[in-house]
């Protein structure tokens, strides 16, 4: 149904795609795998009409597609659902579904028809949503469903999902999979970009692997397994993706908000989305400048929104915090010291970048994350807080990040890692905390922790919140003022009273 023929695309300094050819048939789900930088995003952007390829063409049902125009891609029946959803929060579900082609009578929007058609589309998918709700009031998972209904309203023949489950809870993922099954039965061709092997093998019929911009293989998922796909992705065997190694643990490094971490220890915090993990970290890190001076650093959850300054260079992003320490007289920049530090961090973190002046926004997610780690290693870090450090990062780069964490803890740094990827928490952490509904509900040593125990402690007790929607947004605004107590490094100062799951000054979510 959809054929990618000889697609190539070069950017300054990078061959993002070279002669990629494969095809995807209707009535099936095609996984698209590859490390970051393998060319998946470029391929999706060509599909959605955002990029023009240098060579090659896309053929949909025998007809070549016109490139470089999102409008024509939509007209031709292509819908790409990105991680960041493209909806208008102030408008209703129905208005969003039919945005761009609202049913009308002589120029006036026909509201009754609009609602009726929306209900039709939602029912087709088995989605229970009120068409008159404002999209801004919906949870992330519900918004994603609105995007899918929007694709249907435009008669999409090809629907591509870019990491659709990265912020969904386990139950929401199941609902999404049920919808994808329905789409498949409606003879749609579905492209599914994901790093999660379990998901790929749960719903995909074929798996296409890209590596360094080249097409490696397209195989039926029944004829391969996770290890095989990972091997094709990285071009080598990764037998143990976590590579945990025993380390010695030192004295207590941080005690704050009911959480204790020792130097040299990796503490994993697991919980479903909305369990209050991000809020807990942000509360510990309520006053960034002061925390950094105390040696506590945070790698935030949303790299693009809170981590990197995307228009500035790799070097500037690395030196953003520590330049204060290098500076002369407290304000004059010490350029040689900054350059040396950036060079050193880029090497130590193995950030793949053409040069230090490269705009960081043009690097892959894994390399951005490594640069942010470099930012904190330029400081005298004693406790490193990480919020979903490997989200949206490919397998190879994940392992590099784990290795950085092990090295750090060997140097006596206390590491706190929040993750909603349970195997990752169990694979990397020396000790596991589980959070539920804003409080720490269980604690396990590495030996005690099993997936069953952790999940049992994470699942909400009744009353069951139907869709936990984290609202770190409102929290961030509130945390600027910061009248909440400062985290203390234990040695120099008395312990603050443990406070578990206290909500921040901005009020805790919707």
């Amino acid at each position: 149904m959809l054929e990618f023929q000889n697609l190539s695309k070069a950017f300054p300094g990078v061959q993002a795609l070279s002669e990629v050819s494969f095809s995807a048939s209707g009535c099936s789900v095609h996984a698209l795998c590859g490390e970051n930088g393998a060319g998946k995003s470029t391929l999706l952007k060509i599909l959605s009409g955002m990029y023009k390829p240098d060579t090659g063409q896309l053929v949909l049902e025998g007809k070549p597609l016109r490139f470089g125009s999102p409008f024509h891609a939509i007209q031709a029946g292509i819908a790409v659902i990105y991680q960041e959803l493209h909806l208008v929060p102030e408008m209703t579900v129905a208005e969003n579904v039919f945005l761009g082609h609202l049913p009308s009578k002589t120029g006036w929007v026909d509201n009754r028809e609009l609602v009726a058609q929306t209900v039709g589309k939602l029912e087709e998918l088995g989605i229970a949503l009120d068409p008159n709700t404002k999209v801004g009031d919906l949870s992330l998972a519900q918004r994603q469903m609105v995007e899918i209904a929007k694709a249907l309203s435009r008669d999409a023949k090809v629907i591509a999902f870019d990491e659709p489950t990265s912020s969904l809870s386990a139950r929401e993922v199941e609902t999404l999979f049920a919808i994808i099954e329905k789409l498949k039965r409606q003879e749609k061709a579905i492209l599914y970009v994901s790093h999660r092997m379990d998901e790929i093998f749960a719903i995909c019929d074929t798996v296409t692997v890209l590596r360094d911009g080249k097409h490696i293989e397209t195989v039926p998922s029944a004829q391969t397994d996770a290890a095989g796909v990972v091997k094709s992705m990285v071009g080598r065997d990764i037998s143990d993706i976590y590579g945990w190694r025993p380390r010695s643990v030192g004295a207590i490094a941080l005690e704050s908000h009911g959480l204790t971490v020792r130097g040299g220890e990796i503490l994993g915090i697991f919980g479903l989305v909305g369990a209050g993990r991000t809020e807990l970290l942000k509360e510990i890190y309520a006053n960034p400048a002061q925390s950094i001076k105390n040696g506590i650093c945070l790698c935030p959850e949303d790299r693009k929104k809170e981590g990197i300054v995307s228009v500035r260079s790799v070097a500037e992003n690395i030196n953003l915090s520590a330049r204060r320490r290098f500076s002369k007289l407290g304000f004059w920049i010490n350029e040689p010291a900054e350059r040396e530090n950036a060079t050193q961090q880029v090497e130590a973190m193995r950030v793949k970048t053409p040069n230090l002046e490269q705009q960081i926004g043009l690097l892959s997610g894994g390399n951005q994350q490594k640069a942010i780690l470099g930012r904190w290693l330029s400081e005298d870090v004693k406790v490193l807080l990480l919020d979903e450090p490997t989200r949206g990062i490919d397998v190879g780069a994940k392992r590099e990040i784990y290795d950085i964490l092990y090295d750090l803890s060997e140097r006596g740094v206390g590491v706190v890692m929040v993750s909603s990827d349970l195997p990752e928490v169990l694979g990397v952490a020396d000790r596991v905390l589980v959070m539920r509904q804003g409080v720490i509900s269980a604690e396990f040593s590495r030996e005690e922790a099993t997936p069953e125990k952790c999940l049992a402690a994470a699942l909400p007790t009744s009353p069951n919140p139907s869709s936990p929607s984290p609202s770190s947004q409102s929290w961030e605004e509130g945390s600027e003022g910061s009248h909440s107590p400062q985290p203390h490094l234990v040695s120099p100062s008395p312990n603050p009273p443990p406070r578990i799951g206290r909500r921040g000054p901005g009020g805790g979510g919707s």
């Binding site: 300054v309 953003l320 915090s321 004059w332």
Partner: protein, 309 residues
């Protein structure tokens, strides 16, 4: 070649423009005219230095034209009352600093957007300027004060030197100090900057306060040159200044901007204005032309960057 174009596109356009104007516009390429041209961009050039910081931080300041007027009026009142030149400079500059600090406080601390905040202060400050001057200009009889803006050194008058000094000082501030780098980081991503320990609120307040002070300084120089404090002067200055910056490749969304680009932008605007004066083009058409040039420049920039994608 491509790289040269990417990095110095506007500089090339500027050079080409001067070349073409030299050959096509009579009296453009004369020493007298070069001096006049430089003199004519001083107010815009001085204020653009600090506007660059506002833009780099992702904001802008519409109140600068009003601050220039208020500073001129206050300087005239002070000099007529006291005869003390130091006071006639210090009081308006401090006042400008205060207005800017209020802008910054409302924007950064209270979270009101820059458009609304500075639109409001623009009107408030203009109102005060007219109230203080009772609607008409205040003549300055003190000769020493009048010389302030007309003092000549190496052929150029003092406002030109003040502008050059501003270019140097703010160029160094932007590139060589933590204040400047933090400004760009805030404009690029204020949340990332905050989480990296940058005091976003304090930096922004400082940016606006300095903007106010520098606009006031430009106002004092202007008042000295014309020997009067004029409450109606410099209307629309803010747009000229922002246009100059944008012409010079400063991003309106923040995080990107250089002093050299801004200088080029300011001089392109000045050269076009100057050439149109020499050709006796009516002012109304000049307005149309400057708008069209701004639009063309921004489109050119967009086109240049699109190839990067």
């Amino acid at each position: 070649m491509k790289k040269l174009w990417q990095n110095n596109g506007m500089l090339l356009v500027c050079a080409l423009l001067f070349l073409v104007l030299s050959f096509t516009v009579p009296n453009f390429a004369t020493v007298e005219n070069a001096k006049g041209l430089t003199m004519s961009v001083t107010t815009v050039g001085i204020v653009a230095c600090t506007m660059l910081f506002c833009l780099a931080a992702g904001d802008f300041d519409l109140s600068v034209g009003s601050v220039v007027a208020l500073a001129g009026v206050v300087a005239a009142l002070v000099i007529n009352k006291t005869g003390n030149i130091a006071l006639a400079i210090a009081i308006p500059v401090a006042l400008g600093f205060g207005v800017g600090a209020i802008n910054g406080f409302v924007i950064a601390r209270l979270g009101i957007n820059a458009l609304i905040t500075t639109l409001a202060t623009m009107q408030i400050v203009r109102g005060f300027a007219r109230l203080l001057a009772d609607g008409s200009s205040i003549g300055i009889s003190n000769e020493a004060f009048g010389k302030l803006g007309q003092y000549k050194l190496l052929e150029f008058q003092s406002p030109v030197w003040v502008m050059v000094l501003c270019f140097v000082v703010f160029g160094l501030l932007l590139n060589k100090t933590i204040y400047g780098r933090n400004t760009l980081a805030i404009g690029g991503n204020s949340e990332a900057a905050r989480l990296s320990g940058v005091n976003v609120v304090r930096t922004k307040i400082l940016i606006f306060a300095v903007q106010g002070a520098v606009a006031a300084l430009a106002g004092v120089l202007l008042a000295s040159r014309v020997s009067s404090g004029q409450p109606n002067t410099s209307e629309g200055l803010e747009l000229q200044v922002i246009s100059g910056c944008v012409l010079g490749g400063v991003s309106l969304t923040g995080g990107v901007g250089t002093i050299s680009g801004m200088i080029v932008g300011v001089f392109i605007m000045g050269a076009v204005q100057n050439a149109m004066n020499l050709l006796n083009i009516p002012t109304f058409w000049q307005l149309v032309a400057s708008g069209a040039i701004l639009l063309a420049a921004v489109l050119l920039d967009k086109l240049k960057n699109r190839k990067n994608v």
